[in-house]
């Protein structure tokens, strides 16, 4: 935090996701930051670029039976099963606190059908606090829903269009990495009106408990996240940034300012921090500080100079 010492120099960290202006490019990844309040005594929530909350469905979901998580090499698998309080309780119980933070609140939504996506969007659009909607079309944990939408360009476009037509806030579509060519899906949702895409969601993985000769997760498969997946995420962000002209938000194994800056070089306008919040609840703030230091040290006019600045060839 060089800019807090002596002669004040404030790095310009602002970025735009369509019409949405962020004070800096660092957001929390859905499902890894609860509803933000959990972290209030550990970092200054008001400094975050944006807060993305745990995925919300139309009706409450109680989630999968345990075990729901298991550590893997430099990563973890989760099969939470999209446990959440449902959109109605979310609006009553969580939105008021989130509204006090002075930070853009982005709500991650999920559904089993286009109708469900439409209904959630309608309800959320009525809340002034909701700055943008992030559509989870890629969650690998729930057998119906999730994967089907994210793996098929036509279905992905349909969900995007449905949400797009239902709300006037920016619509971010969160892409699944479990596809042959992520740029096809990215282009389809861009065409369908997405304001931005975010990627990657978790890779589908599995772990086995040799002692019990059983899957380590009750749900058998789960979503792989953490540093282990960073190379895959960086590759996909790079590919998608070249394929679309809407902003790209990078996600996957980001834990440090260096990680975040690498995603920006690859073409990300902003980043989300997921699993790292568990390891270091102050990760988001440290990444913001680190990006600020870098911008000053490298004498960049703005962090935006980093976006897509990778030199190839």
């Amino acid at each position: 935090m060089e800019y807090l010492k002596g002669d004040v120099q404030i790095p310009d960290l602002r970025v735009n996701i369509g019409p949405l202006s962020l004070a800096n490019p660092v957001m929390t990844a859905s499902g890894t930051f609860g509803y933000a309040r959990e972290f209030e005594s550990l970092l200054d929530l008001g400094r975050l670029g944006a807060i993305i909350v745990k995925g919300i469905s139309l009706h409450p979901r109680s989630g999968n039976p345990p075990p729901r998580i298991i550590e893997t090499a430099s990563g973890m698998l989760n099969a939470i099963g999209l446990q959440n309080v449902g959109v109605d309780r979310f609006i009553v119980e969580k939105i008021p606190y989130l509204g006090t933070l002075g930070v853009p609140i982005i709500v991650n939504i999920l559904g089993d059908s286009l109708d469900e996506y439409r209904h959630i969007t309608e309800k959320l659009s009525a809340c002034e606090v909701v700055a943008a909607i992030e559509i989870n079309i890629s969650c690998p944990n729930v057998k119906k829903g999730g994967v089907a939408f994210g793996a098929d360009p036509a279905m992905a476009a349909a969900v995007t269009r449905t949400v797009r037509e239902t709300t006037s806030v920016p619509v971010i579509v969160k892409l699944s990495p479990n596809v042959t060519d992520v740029t096809v899906i990215a282009k389809a949702v861009e065409e369908a009106g997405a304001t931005a895409v975010s990627l990657i969601n978790t890779l589908i993985g599995m772990a086995i408990d040799l002692k019990r000769r059983r899957p380590a997760l009750a749900n058998v498969c789960g979503g792989l996240s953490g540093p282990a997946i960073k190379p895959v995420a960086l590759r996909m962000v790079y590919q998608v940034a070249q394929a679309v002209s809407i902003p790209v938000i990078g996600i996957g194994g980001i834990a440090t300012a260096e990680d975040a800056l690498e995603f920006m070089l690859a073409g990300a306008t902003a980043v989300q921090i997921g699993t790292a919040n568990f390891v270091n609840p102050r990760a988001c703030e440290e990444v913001i500080d680190g990006i600020g230091d870098y911008v000053l040290q490298e004498k960049l006019a703005s962090v935006r100079e980093m976006i897509g600045a990778l030199q190839v060839g």
Partner: protein, 261 residues
């Protein structure tokens, strides 16, 4: 509740027996805020593997800002923690979770194996309250002497009756803590505070229900965040739903839980 992430220096390493280690940290913020039954998440190592923090009950704190954990080496994380050097700094997150609800009634503390860890803090707290301690009992059980004996003296300091059991009879009474508990005549009402393996907790839960004692149990679960953010640490409850060990617990009223034994 305020939580802290502290860089805590290791100031003392005690190998209480083969695999059981007690570490003392200089960790003033967490120590000052902690109450018995709460836990901390400790970062082991500095690389990405192992990635996640490991949860440990708070074993003891003191007024000088020290915090202790008492643990068994069962895998890589605990192995690395046991190999830490004096003076090394370790990142500790806490205090986390809901601890024991200290009641006025006579207390019976029941610890099985590493389940003894949080009970020392609880015993100290109980001993500091203005209440009659003469009718309080502590039952400490383990598989063998080395799991029980090293801690008995620490527990005896508080002037409560201490009963020790071992599965193999190598120290104290032979048998499980549940058997020792059954054979005691405890005052009624009485609040029973338990920590240990699930079968023991399930057993204690039934015994207490039969006798009309209120029973608090400290349970375990795999954890990623320890603070309610990941929803990974779910356990089934009596209603067919889930509780989250890290925020709803780790201490629960035994009647809340659905034992999966």
């Amino acid at each position: 509740m305020t939580q802290y992430q502290e860089k805590a220096a290791v100031i003392r390493i005690e190998r209480l027996s083969g695999d059981n280690v007690r570490l003392t940290f200089d960790c003033p913020d967490i120590a000052a805020a902690a109450s018995p039954g709460q836990f901390v998440m400790i970062r082991v190592g500095t690389g990405n593997d192992p990635l996640l923090r490991r949860p440990f009950s708070i074993h003891q704190t003191d007024e000088d800002g020290h915090l202790q954990v008492y643990f068994k080496v069962v895998g890589r994380g605990t192995g690395m923690l046991a190999a830490v050097r004096e003076g090394a700094e370790v990142s500790i997150l806490g205090p986390l979770g809901r601890g024991f609800q200290v009641a006025d009634s006579p207390a019976c503390l029941v610890g099985g194996g590493l389940g003894m860890a949080p009970l020392l803090f609880l015993a100290r707290k109980l001993s500091q309250l203005k209440r009659d301690r003469s009718r309080d009992t502590i039952i400490l059980g383990g598989r063998t002497s080395s799991e029980v004996e090293p801690l008995v003296k620490d527990f005896e300091e508080f002037g409560m009756t201490v009963v020790a059991t071992t599965d193999d009879g190598s120290y104290g009474q032979r048998g499980f803590v549940t058997a020792a508990f059954s054979s005691l005549s405890l005052p009624s009402p009485c609040t029973v505070y338990c920590c240990g393996p699930e079968p023991m907790l399930a057993g204690m839960s039934v015994l207490c229900r039969t006798r009309g004692y209120s029973c608090q149990v400290s349970v375990e679960s795999v954890m990623a965040c320890g603070m309610g953010a990941c929803l990974g640490c779910s356990k089934p409850n009596r209603d067919g739903g889930y509780v989250h060990v890290c925020v709803d617990g780790p201490v629960f009223d035994a009647e809340e839980m659905a034992w999966n034994i």
